[in-house]
């Protein structure tokens, strides 16, 4: 089966006063229909810029997609003119954001916003579009969808708004859904509801999902494949089982060791004195990256080669890739 989304060699840079910021460097991945690929990393690792690059929503200038291709069903989005790209957004590739208020227009009712999307892309009549909006709200399990469709975004709770945004994103049944930290602003009980919802809708529509998150728990529960990014580059890629069981790169290994876990996950007798493993230092500035491996200054295993040369991203084990001289 050919992947629905194929990203290869994507590089995005920002021309700033502080010099050239290489936000995303040579990132490639592909996602099949119905599959979820998670991109994990900390702030500044380039995961959100990757997501925005897929949608071609990078502000230009100062940003620029320097090279690469983003193919949805074989069509390279980066080669399209702005008008054709606009048609692709929503119908073929859609995005949901961390803060739904930024994506929803506060002056238009939720139902109307979804209906507009349908009219725009499917050319449906107003009545059809309206019915479809209510149907979508029902699908994202908003109670009393007909009444809720007439509400403005600010009248809804955070969880409801996120549902409405998902309804809007999926209204035209896009092939690819890019979800940028969709549950970070939500409480845990609501987060669980939203993640379940995305999963269910994905199964129903066969959507390929790119999930951007910093939460390894969310990754473990929702994704099939994982890409770990650090300082703008991919450092590891594997199936979710492989990555959590056997991380090859010291960065994801350190991350997994540094997070506290709720007791049920690892036997119960957790003494409060047990120290968490730390990753010393901090994320480097993207305009001032170290010469070799960007993680080398924080890595306990780094040797002279690590500090001198950027390690290639290569196959290390069966279907398990990493960029590390030591792995």
């Amino acid at each position: 089966m050919a992947p629905v989304l194929e990203v290869s060699g994507l590089s995005t840079v920002f021309h700033t006063r502080r010099g050239l910021v290489r936000a995303v460097q040579d990132v490639s991945f592909s996602v099949n229909a119905g599959e979820t690929l998670a991109i994990v990393g900390e702030s500044g690792c380039g995961k959100t810029i990757t997501a925005l690059s897929l949608m071609r929503l990078i502000p230009q200038p100062p940003g620029e997609i320097a090279s690469g291709s983003v193919k949805v069903d074989g069509v390279d989005l980066l080669q399209l003119d702005e008008a054709s790209m606009r048609k692709m957004r929503g119908s073929k590739i859609a995005m949901i954001f961390q803060e739904p208020m930024t994506a929803l227009n506060p002056l238009i009712t939720v139902g109307k916003q979804i209906a507009e999307m349908v009219t725009l892309h499917d050319g449906a009549s107003r009545q059809v579009a309206r019915d479809r909006a209510i149907e979508m709200l029902h699908l994202v399990r908003i109670p009393e969808p007909a009444r809720r469709a007439r509400e403005y975004p600010h009248q809804m709770s955070g969880g409801m708004r996120q549902r409405a945004m998902i309804a809007m994103a999926l209204a035209c049944k896009p092939k690819v859904l890019v979800a940028d930290e969709p549950t970070t602003a939500l409480d845990v009980t609501i987060q669980a509801q939203i993640l379940d919802l995305i999963g269910d809708l994905q199964r129903e529509f066969g959507t390929a999902v790119v999930l951007i998150t910093h939460d390894l728990g969310v990754v473990a529960e929702t994704a099939q494949r994982v890409v770990v990014m650090y300082a703008g580059r991919k450092v590891e890629e594997a199936s979710v089982e492989d990555l959590f069981a056997n991380p090859l790169h010291p960065y994801p290994r350190g991350l997994l060791a540094s997070i506290p876990r709720v007791g049920s996950a690892r036997g119960l007798d957790v003494s409060p004195d047990e120290r968490l493993q730390e990753i010393s230092g901090m994320v480097p500035a993207l305009n001032n990256l170290p010469q070799g491996c960007a993680f080398a200054p924080r890595c306990s295993q780094a040797d002279a080669k690590c500090h001198a040369q950027v390690p290639p991203f290569e196959l290390k084990q069966h279907d398990h890739f990493a960029a590390c001289w030591q792995a």
């Binding site: 009980t189 509801q193 007798d269 957790v270 901090m282």
Partner: protein, 324 residues
């Protein structure tokens, strides 16, 4: 738990209502019942974790305990002394014993003041030593929290989030307090930085016999750092227990739901999905009876009418539920 000693902090039946005012004459038309009868105690060297979702009143509790916000009712005792009715001036010397660390490492430091002066501010306010002594003390504090003393002349914006949180911690430690309210101190930090700050807080606790009221929505972090845990829902504590038994077997349906909702970083665990439905109701007009009944899978008719009291179910373990 050592029950015979006087707890360092003792809070009884604490209430905080925020009036909702409307109209030209600012008439009170209702109350946000942010904190509605909360009691707990913290011993020296102990961490009490306070968990709950947004709007449950946990941050308000932290501020009321320090009297940064005035309580509507109830009492707060520090080392056995009631501070609830103290006047501002009389409260000032007690401020040396209790401090706070905030969530947002950006807005918790004044952008126009050098970090060395920020950390030295408490010493200056309480007239500790002369200028030289204070500078030495600040340098020591910097070292202790993992910052270089030569960074004292920098401004907050020159630091990363994790470093700023270290500055906040140094400020809180400056007067050598016994009790620190930590309000979501790691929630705004990156995962790899969280561990650094949690370890620092725990090391400091061991060194100085610190007591923490650790407020967080992150159950994993609370489990790691706390000795005892209180779970809040809409202004009330619904479960209060030592850490091990709470996480081993949550008794209140809400605690159970919270734990079930936390995504675990282990794909090999295939868990049965216990999801609670619906949103957290508004604290302006909370549901009758047990506040959790509209979302509770086990709710019975009496839950709708009768509010359960927090009662002992085992030694050191309390639950507010009719069914447990």
């Amino acid at each position: 738990m050592t029950m015979e000693q006087t707890p360092l902090v003792e809070v009884t039946a604490l209430r905080k209502f925020f009036p909702i005012k409307k109209g030209l004459l600012r008439r009170t038309i209702g109350n946000v019942r942010a904190v509605d009868g909360v009691s707990f105690s913290i011993n020296a060297g102990e961490t009490l974790g306070l968990v709950g979702e947004s709007g449950c009143g946990k941050s308000t509790v932290g501020r009321v305990v320090l009297r940064l916000i005035e309580p509507s009712a109830g009492s707060i005792k520090i080392k056995g002394a009631d501070i609830t009715g103290l006047k501002r001036q009389d409260l000032r010397p007690l401020r040396r014993q209790m401090q706070i660390v905030f969530q947002d490492p950006f807005s918790s430091l004044n952008p126009r003041i050098r970090v060395g002066d920020i950390v030295g501010e408490p010493l200056k306010v309480h007239n500790v030593g002369d200028k030289k002594d204070r500078a030495d003390r600040v340098a020591q504090l910097f070292q202790r929290v993992g910052l270089r003393p030569d960074q004292m002349n920098n401004y907050p914006h020159q630091f990363s989030g994790g470093q700023r949180q270290r500055v906040s911690i140094a400020r809180a430690l400056a007067l050598d307090p016994g009790f620190i309210v930590a309000d979501e101190p790691v929630s705004a930090l990156d995962v790899s930085i969280q561990a650094q700050v949690i370890n620092l807080l725990m090391d400091l606790q061991r060194e100085r016999q610190l007591s923490y009221l650790f407020i967080s929505h992150n159950l994993a972090v609370v489990e790691h750092i706390s000795h005892r845990v209180a779970v809040m829902y809409l202004g009330r504590i619904v479960e209060y227990a030592d850490k091990t038994s709470l996480f081993a077997k949550p008794l209140h349906p809400y605690t159970e739901a919270l734990l079930a909702a936390v995504p675990l970083p282990d794909p090999s665990l295939k868990r049965t999905k216990h999801r609670v439905e619906g949103d957290v109701p508004s604290p302006i007009n909370p549901p009758s009876g047990c506040h959790f009944h509209p979302r509770c899978p086990y709710a019975e008719p009496r839950c709708k009418v009768e509010a359960p009291v927090l009662r002992d179910v085992a030694p050191g373990r309390q639950v507010a539920c009719h069914l447990r």
